[in-house]
Amino acid sequence: MAPGKPILKITGMLGALVAAVLVLTGRANADRYPLDTLSPKSDLTREILWLFKEVTILDSIVLAVVVVALGLAIFVFSSRTGEPGAPSVKHSDMWLEMAWTIIPALILIAITVPTVRTIVHTQPDRWPQGALTVRVVAHQWWWEFQYPSLGVTTADEVHIPANRVVHFELVSEDVIHSFFMPAIGGKRDVVPGQVNQITLDADVPGEYWGQCTEFCGIEHADMRFRAFVDTPGDFDKWVAHQLEPPVKPDSGPAADGAKIFANAPCAICHTIKGVSGFSKEYNFGFRGPDLTHFGERTTMAGSIMDNTPENVAKWIENPDALKPGVKMPALGLSGPELSELVAYLESLK
């Protein structure tokens, strides 16, 4: 007795319908989902998307064949009492077996050839003369960005020019992380002891999000960053601004805050160029993000929250409450001292 065939049919179709609706509505808005992997904005991610679409189509065909064949088999051959005719006992068929070996092989070749082409094409060992090199340094649990040729160091947010080859060098200060910028870069692991690369050419200016995607300890979930693709003009402006010395407030709470910074342990981990930050030998000023132009960043603390005075205050007061396990200690600052320090930091535009 074949149970529930109608149930099977209806459930299956209903489920597929619901899923389809939700997927399509979801994908229609995908662009506003900042980590979307299917909205490419660079040459690299466009090649990847092409491959993805090809495989999805081929996969869907195969799935359809399997589902239809099995579904038909189930519906047609379920036993019913009194059914006349004996079941077939055919258990081999050379042509069929060859077909379902060779056809999948051909499909796989159709996937493998462009795959290998893309692999080779997207991992060049040479870059054009005008390429920009950005050195990404991964720490537990924040991202540092250096521009060796420009002399710029920042954290949490990386700026790159559009329509120019950018070559990311990935190094880690501690454990294995993974640098994931779905819209423009795919991902590449950041492995201590070696230098990994991503080479890309982003062509749509905008703000793109990224996150660490290799489990790296307690706060792996909160190791995020922002990537800004600027027009070449905007990029040059940004670089020039980064090279300027930090704001030195003369009066007001910010000025008091500057004094607090200079006297508190902040300087041991955080660099503000010309104010704090010692030689790398002593590992001073490099354990935490560079704060020289902190005020103009949109996010903070591994890009887990917006850079607002309230958030900065909460963070300094008790970092562990916002990011349990973080390496920054609570400094015992509160009240007016805290707000002065916050004012100073936010003034570092």
Binding site: V171, G193, Q194, V195, N196
Partner: protein, 115 residues
């Protein structure tokens, strides 16, 4: 540990009597002498300056010879059922694949040291 009413039908033809084709002690001693000579060759190759260029392939060949002699004669593979040779060959190839792959993979990695 139990009795069978029926004798097993040896449908597969891997059946060589264990006691046939046994090398005698003389053969074993001869093999031991050959192994010693091969080892002496290896050490000679190691110290001979004019052979340094082909040190690696020569050593590998000599090692394979020793390996074969011990496996085929002392471990009796030459005389035993081919099942045992198959049982040894597959893991051996896998082992060589692992060593070769890892060496190649790390060769690439050595171009990626921290700068």
């Amino acid at each position: 540990m139990s009795d069978h009413a029926a004798q097993p039908a040896h449908a597969v033809g891997h059946h060589r009597a264990e006691e046939a084709h046994h090398p005698g002690p003389v053969t074993y001693i001869v093999i031991a002498i050959v192994l010693t000579i091969l080892t002496a060759f290896e050490i000679g190759v190691f110290y001979a300056p004019f052979l340094q260029a082909i040190l690696v392939p020569l050593l590998i060949i000599l090692a394979i010879c020793k390996f074969y002699l011990v496996a085929a004669y002392y471990m009796h593979l030459h005389f035993d059922s081919r099942v045992f040779t198959a049982l040894f060959m597959f893991p051996l190839w896998l082992a060589m694949l692992i060593v070769a792959s890892l060496m190649l993979l790390f060769l690439y990695l050595s171009h990626h040291l921290v700068t």
